[in-house]
Amino acid sequence: MEEPVIVLETQKINAWFGKDQVLFDVSARIPKKRVTAIMGPSGCGKTTFVRTLNGLHLLTPGARSSGTVLLEGVDTSTMDVVDVRKHIGMVFQRPNPFPTMTVYENVLAGYRLTGQSLSREKADQIVETTLNKVGLWTEVQAKLFKAGTSLSGGQQQRLCIARAIAMEPAVVLFDEPTSALDPKSTAIIEELLSDLKADYSILFVTHGLQQAARISDYVAFFMVGELVEFGETKRVFVGPQDKRTEDYLSGKYG
């Protein structure tokens, strides 16, 4: 495989909750338009890592972080946080469409919440193309003006993916997006990823080994706040270089 283009690079990221340090000098290079799985046992800092990338980590009272995040070569600390988040979208563990908004409004929520107005035609067009991208258009076409929360759990999560990609981000962070879903909805979302990576670079937090193996091109393995191993998924799964990765893959830690 040729050397991939890098979309996101982190340099020595450290993160704390109060006095507890949860990430230690994490440096990673995330390839463009690929799926990178972030895996590791519970409490290893996977979620905190992706939340430092879009500054969401700092919303927690007492949380802080240090280090540099380069987005397409630009230091994100020099950018407005609004622009950073526009370029780095996020999908959460539990589907969280806005309950006060319709399906249609949920897709456009990013525009509305950042005060960008759209013409009617443009709005309609974004809603249709985005919902098509997440395979939801035919399912919800008749329910566009019903509450976003009236959809099934799996549909709600795809609506949340639509809400994130409607802003045309470069990177989309998925924080264990299928852990609250049934196997069928999980499968639909996993299939969706291979379509989405044509347009977006994806970071996918998961604690499931099989899931990481199924969906990812690259994998980052975290343990106790450290990035232990990073590489092409096939290579890491077949021949891990670090003893800890090998032990994890053979089922030695939960």
Binding site: P99, L113, M167
Partner: protein, 277 residues
């Protein structure tokens, strides 16, 4: 019987008896007010001001007064109460927010007669006139802390996942507060406003020193005005049976009004909970 069983039986009996007592007290009050009040209700009661001797006539002046004074107090107090509640909720865990919350609790605990005296000293005495507006301002001081606390509590119920989703889309804090938190909590906040209104609508002590009362149908907020609690107080302590009967009728109307406000509030809270589920 063993000691454990005796204890269990006694405690169970006490708990059930207390629950029954609570229902009985409410039932006696409502029943008595209903029986005593309904008898003298007629069209004149709702549409006319008191006549000089009080033989016929009604309490329309007091009904108008209660509505005006309560609504103006709510209009003055709502923005302050809501903003304070938003502040405390958004700055959870910070020292200044804790101080604000503590002050709201303390203000809630100030006896209403003290609020009345303050209204008298700083408004009535200064402007040399009893007025409905000074009553509204005094009641607003009781309205603000309850509203602030309810707003805070309802905002704290908004799932943090929703706020995070909004931040992750690039929304600024003001946008998250207005477009996500407040909209999601709207029904709960409205219900809190209704409960706070119900609470001040029945207040008497602050009105004695501020609105003072009036025999006339008064729409001018800068003049003395009657209100149902005032009218009840004056009529019930008068020696005339006709007026005492009217006091019961006025009490009935006031209780009905407050129960309606509280029912409205409950109903809205039920709707909020359904949205959450």
């Amino acid at each position: 019987m063993t000691g454990r069983k005796v204890k269990n039986g006694v405690m169970g009996g006490l708990v059930a008896a207390s629950a029954l007592l609570l229902i009985a007290v409410l039932a006696v009050i409502v029943w008595h007010i209903f029986i005593s009040g309904v008898r003298y209700l007629n069209w004149d009661f709702f549409t006319k001001a008191p006549t000089p001797m009080g033989e016929s006539g009604g309490v329309f002046n007091a009904i108008v007064g209660t509505f005006l004074i309560t609504l103006v107090a709510a209009a003055i107090g709502t923005p302050f109460g809501m903003f304070a509640g938003i502040y405390v909720s958004e700055h959870r865990g910070q020292r200044f927010a804790d101080i604000v919350r503590l002050c709201a609790d303390a203000l809630q605990g100030v006896p209403s007669i003290v609020i009345g005296i303050f209204g008298y000293t700083f408004l009535v005495a200064r402007f040399r006139s009893y007025s409905a507006l000074s009553a509204s301002i005094a009641l607003a001081f009781m309205f603000v802390p309850t509203t602030a606390r309810v707003t805070e509590e309802v905002l704290n119920l908004v799932p943090s996942g929703l706020k995070e989703a909004a931040y992750a889309l690039g929304a600024r804090r003001s946008s998250v507060v207005w477009n996500v938190s407040i909209k999601t909590a709207a029904a709960g906040i409205t219900s809190g406003l209704l409960t706070s209104m119900a609470r001040i609508a029945g207040e008497t002590a602050p009105l004695l020193f501020t609105a003072f009362g009036s025999r006339y149908i008064e729409w001018n907020m800068l003049r003395p005005m009657s209100a149902l609690p005032l009218q009840i107080y004056i009529y019930a302590s008068s020696p005339y049976p006709v007026l005492q009967q009217q006091a019961w009728s006025a009490a009935f109307v006031l209780v009905l009004l407050i129960l309606l406000l509280q029912y409205g509030a409950k109903h809205l809270i039920a709707r909020v909970l359904r949205v959450k589920a």
